[in-house]
C-alpha cells in the first residue's frame, strides 16, 4: 500500500520534472527546424530556456481588469498541464493510476478554459476578441478528444486510464475501425490542440496581437509560455499513449527513450505543418472541426456496435 503510493508519487514527480526540463528543448527544436525550413540560421536550441528565464526575471506589471485573476490564470495554466503529466504514461507507466478518462478530459479542458479566464481578466478589446475565438475553438475541439478517449473506453470496456492507454482504441480482440478513424481525426486537429499555425487563430499575432495574452508580460507571460511549451509535449504524450502505446512495457531506458522518440517525431510533424501553412479564418476552422466532430460521432456509434 505505502509502497504503491511512494512509487506513484515518485513516478509523478519524475514525469513533472522531465516535462518541465524537456518542454523548452522541444520548443527549441521547433524553432530551429522552422528556421531551417525558412532558410535561416535560427536561434540556438537552448534559446527557449533563456526566454523563460528572462521573462521570469522581469518586473511583474499589473495591468488589466482584475490582477488577481490574471495571476491565477497564469498559475493555473501551467498547473493544469503539469497535472496531466501525472495521468499519462511517459515511458515509465501511469504515475497516478486512480484517475480515469473523465478526470483527464477535465484537465485537458481546463487548459483551454484558462486561456479564456486570462483574456477576460485582462479585459481589453483585443483580448476579448481572442477569448471569443478561444471559446469557439474550445467548443468544437474538445469533443474530438473526448470521443477518441470514449472509443477506447468502449472498446476496452473500462473508463480507467490503464486499459484505455494500452492500445485498446484499435480494438480489444478484433480490429476496430472506429479507432483508425479517430486516429486520423485527432491527427488532423493536432495543430489546433497545440495552438500552432494554421490553427493558432486565438492568438494570431498579425490579426489580434496574441489575443488573450496581449496584456501579459514578465513572470506571468513566462508561465503562459511555459504552459504552451508543455502543452506540445503533453498532448503529444496523450496522443502517443492513446494511439501508439507499444513499447512502453520495455525495460526502463528503452521504453522511456521510445516514448520521447515518438514525441519528437510528433514535434517534427507539427513543425513542418506549421511552417508550410497559412492561418485559417475562425469560421473556416470551425466549419472544418464541425465536420470532424460529426465524423467522430459516427466512429463512436461504430465502436458501440463493435466495429
Amino acid at each position: 500500500m505505502w509502497y504503491d503510493l511512494l512509487t506513484s508519487v515518485f513516478r509523478g514527480l519524475v514525469n513533472t520534472v522531465l516535462l518541465l526540463a524537456l518542454a523548452p528543448l522541444c520548443e527549441g527544436i521547433v524553432r530551429k527546424l522552422t528556421a531551417r525550413i525558412q532558410s535561416r540560421q535560427g536561434p540556438p536550441i537552448r534559446q527557449a530556456y533563456y526566454d523563460i528565464l528572462k521573462l521570469l526575471g522581469k518586473e511583474d506589471i499589473e495591468v488589466g481588469e482584475s490582477p488577481v485573476f490574471q495571476r491565477l490564470a497564469a498559475a493555473l495554466g501551467l498547473a493544469s498541464v503539469l497535472c496531466i503529466a501525472w495521468l499519462i504514461p511517459m515511458g515509465v507507466g501511469i504515475p497516478f493510476s486512480g484517475g480515469d478518462v473523465i478526470l483527464l478530459v477535465y484537465l485537458l479542458a481546463l487548459g483551454a478554459v484558462v486561456g479564456v479566464l486570462a483574456g477576460i481578466a485582462s479585459g481589453t478589446t483585443y483580448s476579448m476578441l481572442g477569448v471569443s475565438r478561444e471559446v469557439m475553438m474550445l467548443i468544437t475541439l474538445e469533443p474530438l478528444l473526448i470521443i477518441a478517449l470514449l472509443v477506447a473506453a468502449v472498446n476496452g470496456g473500462s473508463m480507467r486510464l490503464e486499459p484505455v492507454f494500452s492500445g485498446v482504441v484499435f480494438g480489444d480482440v478484433t480490429f476496430s475501425y472506429a479507432g483508425l478513424i479517430m486516429l486520423l481525426m485527432v491527427l488532423a486537429a493536432f495543430q489546433a490542440y497545440v495552438k500552432r499555425v494554421p490553427f493558432d487563430i486565438a492568438e494570431a499575432e498579425t490579426e489580434i496581437m496574441e489575443g488573450a495574452l496581449m496584456e501579459y508580460s514578465g513572470p506571468k507571460l513566462a508561465l503562459f509560455k511555459y504552459a504552451q511549451m508543455c502543452r506540445l509535449v503533453v498532448y503529444s504524450g496523450v496522443f502517443v499513449a492513446l494511439f501508439v502505446p507499444w513499447g512502453n512495457e520495455l525495460m526502463f531506458p528503452l521504453g522511456w527513450l521510445l516514448f520521447w522518440l515518438k514525441v519528437a517525431v510528433l514535434v517534427v510533424l507539427v513543425t513542418v505543418l506549421a511552417a508550410s501553412h497559412a492561418r485559417y479564418r475562425i469560421d473556416q476552422a470551425v466549419r472544418y472541426f464541425l465536420v470532424m466532430v460529426a465524423v467522430s460521432f459516427g466512429a463512436l456509434v461504430l465502436a458501440a456496435l463493435g466495429y
Partner: protein, 174 residues
Amino acid sequence: MSLAAKIKEVLICLRAGRVTLPYPFEPATVPKAFRGRPIFDVERCVGCAGCANNCPAREILVEDVCQEVRILKYLGRRCTYCGRCADLCPENAITMSNEFETATDEISDVGQTLELFMGTCQRCGRCFTSPTPLEELKLKGYRIDDLMNERWVFRSKPFLNEEKTVDDIDIELD
C-alpha cells in the same frame, strides 16, 4: 488539400539551404560603389563650401571665424549618405567610405570638423564652379552658420566684423 503544391513549396525551401549570414560575428562585405559615411580630407579641401551649399540634409556647416580661418563642420547626424557632396567636390576631397556601422553613443564620433586656412581668393566662394546652374547658390563673401547650436543658417556677409551672433534667428531649445 493541395498536397502537391505543399510538397513543391517545401522542396523550394529545402533546396535553398541556409542563407542567412553569421553577421555580426563575421563582418559583412559591401561592394566598392557603396555609399557609406563620407570622409573629408583636410589636405585636399580648399574650403569652397560647395558641399555645404548642396547638402540636401544640411549637415555640413561653414563658419568663417576670421579672415584666414574657415571652419567646415560635418555633423553626420541625419546625413542620408546620398553622396552629393562627394559628387560636387571640385578637389575630390570627399570620399564615400564603406563604413556603415556608425551607431554610437557619442554623436561627434560620426562628425568631422575641418579647420581650413584660407587664402584671400577662396573665401569669396567663387572657386566652386558648379556643374550646372542648378547647383549655383550665389554665395559670396563670408559665410556664417551657427556652429554653436549646430544649425544651418545660410547667411553670408560681404565683410567679416566683430558681432557674429545670430540674434535674429530664434533658436528653440526646450
